[in-house]
Symmetry: C2
C-alpha cells in the first residue's frame, strides 16, 4: 500500500513537471503568452494560458517537439525563495500571477519560484529531481485543447487550456490511448444512437431518456430477469407511488436535508407532494400497514422504483446521470444484527449471481468497499458507538467469511450505518460506486418499525437497504459499453434476422419468420431487393446475434443457413433445431 502511494506521488511529480515543460515550450514558441496555472491531473496534466493569438491542436507536434528539446536540458528543479516584491517584479506583465502572489501573501504563506533550464515559474513545488532522467520523452503526449475561465468563473476571462497525457512508460501511454479509443467506440451515447436504443428530446427535457422499442426491449428483459430472480430468492415485490406528501419525507428526515437534489414540491389544494428521491419511507409505510410478528422476518420488500433527483444540467451524461431513474431497490427488515448479517450474505450472493450472468469477475470488473463511520463526528454519523461497532464487525465478518475482494474506507458510511459499496471499473478505466448494501439502525427508530418477538415483547428490527444491480439506466449504459453493443441473445433487441437471397425465397423465409415469432423469438425479416451482401452487412452493423440466409439450396433442403455474429458460419440447420438452439441459449443467458 505504501509502495503504491509512493508510485502515485512519483507519477504526480512527473505530470506536474511536464506542466512546467509545456509552459516553457509555449513561451519559447509564443513569447507574448501569459502562463497562469498548470497542475497534474489524472492521467496527465494541463496548463492554462492567455495566448496573444489563437492556437489549435495542429500546433501540438511543434509544441511537443519543443518540449522534448527542452527536456534534454532540464537537469533539476531549483527552488528559489523570494519576497513578494521580487515575485511581483518578475511577473509584472502577468496579472494572473500577480493575483496568485497576492493570494499566497494573504494566506501568510511563503512565495517560492521553481526554475528548470531557462524557465522559472511561480510554484509550491512537487517535481521530479532530474526531469531529463526521470521523464521518458516518449511517455507523454499533448491530448486536446479547451476553453477554461480563469479560476473557473464565467465572470473572468476565457483562457486556453492545453491538456497532456503522461505515464511512466511508452507502453502505458499507448495502452491508455488504446483504451480511450476503444472506450470511445463503446461509448453508450454513441452506440445508443447508432443502434437506435434511446433518444432525448429538448421539449421533453434534458436527462429524461425516451426508450425506443429496441432499448425498451433490453430494459424489459433486464427488469424481468431481476424481478423474477429476486422473487425466487424470497423477495416480496411491490408497487408504491412515485409521489407522496411532503410530510412523508419530513418524517423520514430526507426533507429538508436532501432538498437540493429533490424536485420542488407540487402544491395542490392545501397539500404538497414530492417526486420521491428514494423508496425507503414508502416501503416502511407498507411494513407499518399491520402489526408484524418475528415469524414474518426477515421481510424483503423489493420494487423497481422510479426515483427523481434533480441533477445540474452540466452533470447530465447519457444514461449515466439522468433526472429520473429506475432503481432495483429493496429494504430488508431483519429481526436482529445476526439475521441482518445473514441477509447481507444473501444480498451479496444475489449480486454476485447477477454479475456472473453478465460475465463480470470479482476483483477484475468489480469489488467491494466496506465504508465505515467515524465515531468522532456525530454530525455526520448517528451517535451510537455500540451499534456502529456491532454493525461494522458484522459486515466485515460477512466479507471475510466469503473471501470477497474488498477494501475498507474510513468515514465513508451513510449517516445511519456502515455500508458495502459495489465498486465497478468502466471501459474508460474509471472506478465508481455502482450501488450499495447499507446497514441501518436509525430509520427503524424514526419510523417506529417494530415486531412482536417470540417472547411476546415488542422489539425494533434492523433495516438493510440494498440494490441488486443499481439503477436500470446506468446498468444498461454499463452493459452497452461492456458488450460494445454485442448483446447476448437473451438481451438482444433483435435476436435473429432472416435474409432472403432473392424475392423468390421470401415465401419460405416468411414461414421461418412466423415459426420463430410464434415461439417468442424477436425476429426481423429483410426481404428487400438489395442483394445478400448488403443485407448481411446491415445485420452486422445492427449487431444482431444470428442471421439466417435463405436461398435455393435452403428452400430445397427445407433448412436454413445459420451465421453467428460471434462464431461465424454455422452451416445448414432445420428450423426446429435452430429454435431449440436459440431457446437453450436464451434460457442459459449466454
Amino acid at each position: 500500500m505504501m509502495a503504491h502511494m509512493a508510485d502515485k506521488q512519483h507519477m504526480e511529480h512527473i505530470r506536474h513537471s511536464l506542466a512546467h515543460l509545456l509552459a516553457a515550450a509555449v513561451l519559447e514558441l509564443w513569447p507574448e503568452t501569459k502562463p497562469t496555472i498548470g497542475p497534474a491531473i489524472e492521467n496527465g496534466f494541463y496548463y492554462d494560458f492567455e495566448f496573444a493569438s489563437p492556437i489549435s491542436d495542429k500546433d501540438f507536434p511543434k509544441i511537443e517537439q519543443k518540449m522534448r528539446e527542452l527536456l534534454k536540458t532540464w537537469k533539476s528543479f531549483e527552488k528559489i525563495d523570494v519576497t513578494p516584491e521580487e515575485a511581483k517584479e518578475k511577473f509584472k506583465n502577468n496579472p494572473y500571477k500577480l493575483e496568485l502572489i497576492d493570494e499566497i501573501v494573504g494566506k501568510g504563506e511563503k512565495v517560492t519560484l521553481y526554475k528548470s533550464g531557462e524557465f522559472t515559474d511561480l510554484c509550491r513545488g512537487g517535481h521530479v529531481e532530474n526531469p531529463s532522467k526521470d521523464i521518458s520523452s516518449n511517455a507523454f503526449k499533448l491530448d486536446r485543447i479547451a476553453g477554461a475561465y480563469w479560476r473557473g468563473s464565467e465572470k473572468n476571462k476565457m483562457l486556453t487550456r492545453i491538456y497532456g497525457l503522461a505515464f511512466e512508460s511508452k507502453e502505458e501511454l499507448e495502452g491508455y490511448i488504446k483504451m480511450q479509443e476503444e472506450a470511445e467506440k463503446r461509448d453508450h451515447r454513441k452506440l445508443g444512437k447508432d443502434l437506435g436504443l434511446f433518444v432525448f428530446s429538448d421539449i421533453v427535457g434534458k436527462g429524461l431518456p425516451l426508450w425506443t422499442e429496441k432499448g425498451a426491449t433490453i430494459r424489459r428483459e433486464l427488469e424481468r430477469f431481476i424481478v423474477d430472480e429476486e422473487i425466487k430468492r424470497g423477495y416480496k415485490h411491490v408497487y408504491t407511488p412515485d409521489i407522496a406528501k411532503i410530510d412523508l419525507y419530513k418524517k423520514s428526515g430526507h426533507y429538508p436535508y436532501y432538498k437540493d437534489s429533490m424536485y420542488a414540491p407540487i402544491k395542490v389544494d392545501e397539500e404538497e407532494f414530492m417526486l420521491r428521491p428514494m423508496t425507503c419511507p414508502h416501503h416502511f409505510e407498507l411494513y407499518l400497514s399491520q402489526p408484524r410478528s418475528y415469524r414474518e422476518l426477515p421481510m424483503r420488500i423489493a420494487e423497481l422504483a422510479k426515483l427523481y433527483r434533480y441533477e445540474q444540467s452540466g452533470e447530465l451524461t447519457g444514461l449515466i446521470r439522468v433526472r429520473s431513474f429506475c432503481l432495483a431497490d429493496a429494504h430488508i427488515i431483519a429481526k436482529d444484527p445476526e439475521q441482518a448479517a445473514d441477509e447481507v450474505h444473501k444480498a451479496l450472493d444475489l449480486i454476485e449471481y447477477i454479475a456472473q450472468t453478465f460475465g463480470l469477475k470479482m476483483g477484475e470488473h468489480y469489488w467491494y468497499q466496506l465504508s465505515l463511520g467515524d465515531r468522532t463526528n456525530p454530525d455526520k454519523y448517528f451517535k451510537n458507538d455500540a451499534a456502529w461497532d456491532e454493525a461494522e464487525n458484522r459486515l466485515r465478518e460477512v466479507l471475510q467469511k466469503r473471501n470477497a475482494h474488498f477494501v475498507e474506507a474510513p468515514a465513508e458510511a451513510a449517516f445511519y450505518g456502515p455500508k458495502i459499496d459495489i465498486q465497478m471499473k468502466n471501459v474508460r478505466g474509471k472506478d465508481d460506486t455502482a450501488f450499495t448494501v447499507q446497514y441501518d439502525f436509525v430509520m427503524p427508530e424514526r419510523f417506529n418499525l417494530t415486531y412482536t418477538d417470540k417472547d411476546g415483547l415488542e422489539k425494533q428490527p434492523i433495516v438493510i437497504h440494498r440494490s441488486s444491480i443499481g439503477a436500470i439506466e446506468r446498468v444498461i449504459a454499463f452493459l452497452i459499453e461492456h458488450y460494445a453493443g454485442n448483446f447476448p441473445l437473451w438481451l438482444a433487441p433483435v435476436q435473429v434476422k432472416v435474409l432472403s437471397v432473392r424475392d423468390t425465397h421470401n415465401e419460405f423465409a416468411q414461414k421461418v419468420v412466423e415459426t420463430l415469432r410464434k415461439a417468442s423469438i424477436r425476429v426481423e425479416f429483410d426481404g428487400n431487393d438489395e442483394g445478400l451482401g448488403k443485407k448481411v452487412r446491415a445485420a452486422k452493423v445492427e449487431k444482431v446475434p444470428y442471421w439466417l440466409v435463405i436461398g435455393d439450396k435452403e428452400v430445397e433442403a427445407n433448412k436454413v443457413t445459420l451465421e453467428s455474429r460471434d462464431h461465424g458460419q454455422l452451416g445448414q440447420i432445420s428450423t426446429e433445431e435452430l429454435l431449440s438452439k436459440l431457446q437453450e441459449e436464451i434460457k442459459n443467458k449466454k
Copy 2:
C-alpha cells in the same frame, strides 16, 4: 324507447309518492318533526327531516308499518293551489318550508300543495294517481339513515335523511337488494383489504395505493400479459418519462386547457416540469426523433404509462378513482383513413381477445358506444366537416362489419375526432366508459407528424389513441369484483397452499413445496401445528385456487391429495401430474 320513458316516469312517480308517505308516517309517529324535502332518486327516494330527538334504523320497522297502514287509506293526490300567505300560515312552525315558499315566490312560480290521506305537503307534483292501487306495499323498503346538511351546505343545520328503496314489484326489490348484497361482498375495497392486496397510507397521500406483494403479483401478471400480447400483435413497447417540461403540454394544447386536472408545475432552476396527464405527446416525440417512411407505418407505439390526474379528494374511490394510474396506452400512426380503420379493427380484436380471457361477453358485460362529433359546435369539436364525415363513417363501418354490439352517441366525441367507447357494467349494475379507441386528425397537424410516401411526397398521418384494457388500477378493481376475489390460477397471488396433517409430514410437504417453487408456481406452506381443519379453512378464506393435503397416506404413496377452490376434492395425484396440470391451466389462463 317511448314506452321506456313512460315506465321511467311512472317509477319516479311511485318513488316520489313514497317520499310523501314516509313523511306522513314519520309525522304520525313523531309529530314534533319538521319535514323539509323528499325527492325520488335512482332505485328509490329519500326525505330529510329535523327530528326533535334522534332516531335510528332500529325505528325502520315501525315506520314501514305505519307507511303500509297509511298507504291503504291513500286513494288519490289532491292538488291545492294556495296563495303564498296561506302556505306560510300552514307551515308557520317550519322554517325550511318557509324558506322554500319564499324561493318559489321569488322565481315567480305558483305555490301548490298536495294532499293524500290526512297528509299535505308543499310540492310541485309528480305522483301516482291512486297510491293504494299503484304502489305495491311489498315493493318498497327503508334502506339507511344519514346526516345531510340543509340545502347541502355545511353552514346550515345537519338534518336526518332517511333513504328508501322502491320498485314496481317485490321481485324487483329483492333482486336489487340481492345484487347490492353481492356487490358489497365483492366490493374491491373490502376484498382488497380482506385478501391483503393493497393499502392506503395517510402520510403517503389519498388516492395513492401501495400494492402489497399479493396485489403486486396480480398487477405484474396482468401487465406482462398485456405487454406480451401487444408485442405479439406488432406493437412497439417503449418507455418514456413520467415528467416533461411544461412546453411539451403547451405544444400539444393540453396546457392550460387541461390544467384543472393536472398537478401544479414543478419549478426547478429556470424550468417547469409537469407530471404527465397523458402519453400522446411523449410518443409523438419518439416518432419525431427521425424522418419516417410509409414503410414504417402503421407504427404502433405502446407503453404501460403512469399518468397523473388530480382528482378532488371527495371523488377518490379505492382503485377506481386514484391520483396516479398506469394506462395500457398506445398511439398508432396510420398512413391514411383506410389504414387507420384497419388498425381500429385490430385494436378491437385485441380488446375482445383480452375480454374473452377474463370470461367477459360482448353484449352482456361490455359493448361499444360510437361517440360522434357535432358539426354545429366548432368550439367543442375541431372544424373540419369532411374529416369528421370520413372518420365517423370509417368507425361505423368497422363496428358494422364485425357485427359488434354498439350504440351511437351524438356529441360525445373528443375534440380531435370520433371515438369508440368501451362500456362496461359493474357488479352494482352501473354502466361506465372503461376506456376508448380514438380517431385523431388534429394532433398530427399540431405536432407536425409526417412521413414520406411511396411517391416521395411528405404526407400527414392519422393517429389512433387506444387502450387495450384501460388503467391497470381500475381493471384490477373490476376483476376483484368480477371474480369476487376468486382469481383464476394465472392471476392468483398464491396459487397453491401445501397443508401438512401433522408436523411429521412437514419434511415431505417441504419437498413438494420446493418442487413447485422451482417450477415458478406461487406456493405457500402451512406447517403450523393447528389441525388440518383450520388450515383448510384458512386456504378457503384466502381464496387460494388449490391446496394439497399431505398425511400418512400421501407420504406412503408418494403423492398428494388435491383439493380445488372451485371443484372440490380431486383425489390423489403425483407431484409431476400436479405440476403439468397447473402449468397447463396457467398457460391457458383458465
